[in-house]
């Protein structure tokens, strides 16, 4: 299986969850632990869910389908994580799926009662991909705790649609499906606000991004890869080699990273 994965490149990861013959859209569901991700998953997919196994990984993932406005959506429930920086197997699985699984939409489920903790992951996902929908879940609990959230302002600041839900009561799910469909079909194009770093980091990232663009050829967000390389994230190099067949640890490329760091 490993050999097939390598030989056919990054399409395998997507096709493992959405065979080319099936058609429809692939939707990833990310979020912190305890944000109600699985409740959202079950509410969207009903009883049609079953668990799938990540190729070569022991972390189980749930996968399910729903249809909306005549389109079929395959939903993949990623492990709950606080970060996408591959500190653990769960984070690496989530990160690899969002990067290399090429989902049409990534839904980030956040806990409305605990926003500041959850927005870290949202920003990490919007740095990776534009096709993001934020599902502001547990709104019923937030109301009970008298937490008021200015949803339009949050959406404007993040640059992505924000849908308030209370998944266990079925609240907001129709709106969530509409929004997922709009982003998947391209009717709605989120434009996440870019995160600007200090001048020296920006200079190094810009230089690396220009070197990476011809190697990645649009398959991954080059700026995001540049920032991860500057952080010294070695697991991303493995992922890029495994799924894209590009070896960024070749001596020539390594040298250029070092030059930027000096």
């Amino acid at each position: 299986m490993g050999l097939t994965n390598q030989a056919t490149g990054f399409r395998t990861l997507r096709e493992n969850f959405l065979p080319a013959s099936t058609g429809g859209y692939l939707v990833a569901l990310a979020g912190n632990p305890n944000a109600g991700k699985s409740t959202v998953f079950n509410a969207l997919t009903g009883l049609k869910q079953h668990t799938g196994n990540w190729p070569g990984k022991t972390v189980l993932q749930a996968r399910g389908k729903f249809t909306h406005q005549g389109h079929t959506f395959t939903l993949v429930d990623l492990p709950g994580t606080y970060s996408l920086l591959a500190n653990s197997v769960e984070e690496q699985v989530a990160r690899d799926f969002i990067c290399f699984g090429r989902p049409d939409v990534t839904v980030v489920v956040v806990d409305a009662t605990c926003l500041e903790r959850n927005l870290n992951l949202v920003l990490q996902v919007t740095e990776t991909t534009n096709a993001v929908v934020v599902c502001l879940n547990l709104m019923d609990e937030a109301r009970r705790k008298r937490i008021a959230i200015d949803v339009p302002l949050l959406a404007r600041e993040l640059g992505v649609p924000v849908v308030p839900t209370a998944a266990r009561r079925g609240e907001g799910l129709a709106h969530l499906k509409d929004t997922i469909a709009a982003v998947a079909t391209g009717a709605l194009c989120p434009g996440p606000a870019p995160i600007i770093y200090d001048a020296d980091i920006e200079a190094a990232a810009g230089q690396l991004t220009r070197q990476l663009q011809p190697l990645l050829r649009g398959r991954l967000n080059a700026r995001w890869v540049a920032l991860r390389l500057l952080e010294g994230d070695a697991t991303l190099l493995q992922g890029i080699q495994q799924f894209l067949g590009v070896d960024l640890s070749e001596p020539g490329i390594k040298l250029q990273v070092k030059e930027v760091l000096v």
Partner: protein
């Protein structure tokens, strides 16, 4: 003026405010991702029977940290 100590020295029941992180690289990033940025209020909840790890309440979630992870976080006791 209260004393500055490491997170690992906080006794269960006491709390502190993060002053700085001594970790570097990915270890630092992991602590930041858990919400341990300067100014964050942390409460030590309880210690495992073996003395390690310790559960802390950080920005709305309970998170267990090992002693060696907690050493890297400097807090001001409050």
């Amino acid at each position: 003026m209260s004393t500055i100590t490491s997170l690992s020295n906080l006794r269960p029941g006491s709390s502190g405010e993060v002053v700085s992180l001594q970790a570097r690289g990915l270890a630092r990033r992991r602590l930041l991702d858990l919400g341990l940025v300067p100014g964050t209020r942390v409460v030590a909840l309880r210690r495992s029977p073996s003395g390690d790890p310790t559960a802390f309440f950080i920005r709305g979630a309970t998170i267990a940290l090992r002693r060696e992870e907690g050493w890297e976080v400097l807090v001001q006791q409050v």
